[in-house]
């Protein structure tokens, strides 16, 4: 029983971190160009896109 008091918060926290990461990636537009992203990883990166 005692284990629950720290295991459950840990479980929730880990899930919460995952959720936060998903929401962040959504907000920063990482799902907007899935085809492009797949190719960019293969390209020699001479022209680094500047952050907006």
């Amino acid at each position: 029983m005692n284990g629950l008091f720290f295991l459950i918060p840990i479980a929730l926290l880990m899930g919460g971190v995952g959720l936060a990461a998903f929401l962040w990636s959504l907000k920063s537009g990482q799902y907007e160009d899935l085809d492009g992203a797949a190719w960019r990883i293969l390209q020699d990166d001479e022209t680094k896109p500047k952050p907006d």
Binding site: F22, Y31, W39, T47
Partner: protein, 762 residues
């Protein structure tokens, strides 16, 4: 043919630069932003090239290509950069670009909706996982205080989640109810809300069963379905936007004082004078007031042969100016114009068409009342059976609502549609809405237009079979400068035989007649019989061109239509599937007959006007046939609108593309047959999915009504049925995986829609 595509595009780009200010926005002070659609963005190889070229421009701080949407976003410091430079830089790379406003195009609303759904999906997924974790502990035997603790924890996660992630369903349910309709979202909302409230009540009273996990994982599955549905819609809409941006958007207007400006087509008014260069489509109906040319009417009337035009001729919007620059005066866009006649016919056809109800909607109409009835029956039954035990009766009724929640049903169709539209896209077919797929599966008749649909907008040499090399080289040399289809066919023929066209210094083109030049001291002419002074009428009904040299006998070249390379096997495949195939063309009898015979089509009709085409398709529809109309021209548009469903090649007229339910790319006709196959398969899968979902209910509902459903059983049954349905839908994707993407698909679109860049020799 070697026309300088980039040069012309650069001119166009400069002309448009003046008009770009409307599209430029200011995301933050001191910076300007322009979003462009680049349909020619065919593959990843262009990405670094474009980004390097654009970031190299003065003042540009960021240039980002979006390959999925085929768009480029450019941001520059105000005052340093110019929108015109951006357009010119893209034109320099040989890419046509159109300014794009996401708000106007409706894609920004799509994007907002999509990210809202994704956020809700993320939140409900997180909640479902955690609550399920707690529920598993409860099911594996947590007792008394521990169970209560877990229930309270679940409630803490579930209630805010339901309030947040349930909004798409609540909104739609309330919207539906306020109009007196029971849509699918009514039982969904009821089940989710009732399950949550009942579970909260149970938790407060230290009850044994709480359905928090069910209500949240219901939301998760349903949101997945809703997200797929939205994806499908956004995909269809972006197909429409892309097609629209392929159309020419303006015209070069010459003012009274001689100044020229580029205006949008919608801003053209009667009486305006418009300059139409060689190779451009006419922006409006009008009368020629200056110049002479040949006009390609193939998109308008289906005729292969161009028509000579001079001062005073009436010309129609959508036709292509081939040989000489023209000045036209725009005539009233009144009732008499050809375009407005076509639009009027289209509107009539649309009205006459009965509204198509998709299978899913049909089911939803029966489903909701049925489910609610079932829950009510269960409730009353248990009230009588237990002698007024409200608590137990309500528990069982809610369990019925949860079990029957149309999870699998809501996933069944969107999942299939998304997979199918992906498979279609890879095969070069863009669908404008999900219903098109369902309609395509039900057709029994296919009607093809000839010009531009069964045939390419090209001609090939029919006779003479043997020509001396120097003669052909001379003829090709003359023809090289002209845009006339016969001249182009001649050049192409010479090129295909590896004959280098003689280079001739000065060729003069006389619209409606032919070409003339002086070669080695003698006058050479290429053109009509009259122009070359050859007596007699044409030998057959094939289009012909005559080469006349001073001393030698004239050579008469005749030409015939070029069928799309895979037209014959495609037609055969459609016929094998038991579909009735016909040709309905505006071209002359002889030309149509030849094509029909070559393709093994018994039924053909020639010289059909738009009215006749429309009447014919409507007649068939009245007779109970379900017609797939495939056509490209302005003259096909009413028939396209009247057909049960319709397809148009990407090179079709704007109106043709708008009227059609789906558009296919590339030089081949195979996409038509593939689209039909995918449609049939996807309908099979959708029906299987429905059957699976109903089968699940047949087993689960009696259990729930008998009061035997536990939260555990509900969770397992629901998840299994949803996963089975998704897995079944994915089979379609696997079936069509082998057919790899049509290479350079959008390059083909560009080549077909912008004859400027139609550069076969290159």
């Amino acid at each position: 043919m070697t026309c300088c595509a980039t040069g012309l595009l650069a001119d166009v780009a400069q002309m448009r630069a003046a008009d770009l200010s409307a599209w430029v926005s200011e995301p933050q002070p001191g910076y300007q932003r322009l979003e462009l659609v680049v349909p020619g963005l065919t593959g990843p190889e262009h990405m670094p090239e474009i980004e390097a070229a654009l970031t190299g421009l003065c003042g540009v701080t960021s240039a980002r290509v979006n390959l999925t949407a085929r768009r480029v976003v450019v941001i520059w410091r105000k005052g340093e950069g110019h929108a015109g430079d951006v357009m010119a830089a893209l034109a320099g790379l040989g890419l046509e670009a159109q300014p794009f406003d996401p708000v106007k195009a409706g894609t920004s609303a799509d994007q907002d909706e999509m990210s809202f759904l994704l956020r809700s999906l993320g939140v409900s997924g997180f909640a479902a996982m955690n609550i399920m974790l707690l529920s598993v502990s409860v099911w594996s035997g947590a007792e008394a205080v521990t169970r209560d603790f877990f229930h309270w924890l679940s409630a803490l996660i579930a209630l805010p989640t339901v309030a947040y992630a349930g909004r798409p369903f609540f909104r739609s349910a309330i919207h539906g109810l306020s109009r007196g309709q029971f849509n699918m979202d009514v039982p969904i909302s009821l089940a989710v809300v009732l399950a949550s409230l009942m579970s909260l009540f149970e938790t407060i009273n230290h009850g044994e069963h709480a359905y928090f996990d069910a209500s949240v994982s219901l939301l998760f599955f349903l949101l997945a379905g809703r997200t797929l549905d939205q994806l499908m819609r956004a995909r269809a809409r972006s197909a429409v936007t892309q097609l629209m941006t392929l159309a020419a958007t303006g015209a070069m207007v010459v003012e009274v004082d001689g100044t020229r400006r580029f205006v949008a087509i919608s801003a053209l008014r009667p009486g305006m004078k418009v300059q139409v260069s060689v190779g451009e489509r006419l922006p409006a109906d009008g009368v020629v007031i200056e110049g002479a040319s040949d006009i390609d009417r193939s998109l308008v009337s289906g005729e292969t042969m161009p028509e000579a035009t001079g001062v005073g001729s009436r010309v129609h919007a959508g036709t292509m100016n081939l040989t000489g620059s023209l000045m036209i005066e725009v005539t009233a866009a009144g009732e008499d114009s050809f375009l407005s006649e076509v639009i009027r016919l289209m509107a009539c056809a649309e009205q006459a068409k009965s509204r198509f109800v998709q299978l899913a909607d049909k089911l939803a109409r029966i489903y909701s009342p049925f489910v609610h009835g079932l829950a009510a029956v269960t409730m009353t039954g248990w009230l009588i059976y237990t002698g007024g035990d409200w608590h137990t009766s309500l528990m069982v009724a809610v369990a019925v609502l949860i079990i029957t929640c149309p999870c699998a049903l809501a996933l069944a169709v969107p999942a299939v549609q998304v997979v199918a539209s992906g498979a279609l896209f890879r095969n070069g077919v863009m669908m404008k809405d999900g219903a098109a797929l369902e309609k395509l599966a039900q057709i029994d008749t296919v009607i093809f237009d000839k010009t531009g649909t069964l045939t390419l907008n090209e001609l090939t040499l029919a006779s003479p079979k043997t020509v001396a090399m120097p003669v052909l080289a001379l003829a090709a040399g003359l023809a090289a400068t002209s845009r006339h289809p016969l001249a182009r066919a001649l050049s192409a023929h010479a090129a295909s035989r590896g004959i280098v066209a003689e280079s001739i210094a000065q060729v003069s083109e006389h619209p409606g007649q032919g070409l003339q030049a002086r070669v080695r001291g003698e006058t050479v002419r290429l053109g009509s019989r009259l122009w070359c002074g050859v007596d007699g009428a044409a030998s057959g009904d094939l289009p012909e061109i005559v080469l006349k040299r001073a001393d030698a006998a004239p050579v008469i070249f005749t030409f015939q239509d070029v069928l799309r390379p895979d037209a014959k096997p495609t037609i055969a495949r459609l016929q094998q599937q038991g579909l009735h195939v016909e040709i309905l063309s505006g071209d002359r009898e002889g030309a149509v007959r030849r094509v029909a015979e070559a393709l093994g089509i018994a039924d053909y009709r020639a010289a059909a006007t738009p009215q006749v085409k429309l009447a014919y398709v409507e007649g068939l529809t009245k007779a109970g046939r379900k017609v797939l109309m495939v056509g490209d021209g302005l003259n096909d548009a009413p028939a396209l609108a009247a057909g049960f469903t319709s397809m148009a090649p990407a090179g079709a007229s704007d109106i043709g593309r708008t009227a059609a339910d789906s558009v296919f790319m590339g030089a081949g006709l195979t996409p038509v047959a593939v689209a039909r196959d995918v449609a049939v398969l996807s309908q099979q899968l959708a029906k299987q999915n429905f059957a699976l979902a109903i089968l699940y209910n047949v087993f689960a509902v009696p259990v729930a009504m008998a009061g035997l459903a536990s939260p555990f059983l509900a969770a397992v049954a629901m998840s299994t049925s949803s996963i089975i349905v998704i897995g079944n839908a994915l089979r379609l994707g696997f079936a069509y995986r082998q057919r790899v993407a049509v290479p350079g698909m959008l390059r083909d679109v560009l080549r077909e829609t912008l004859p400027l860049s139609m550069d076969k020799a290159a």
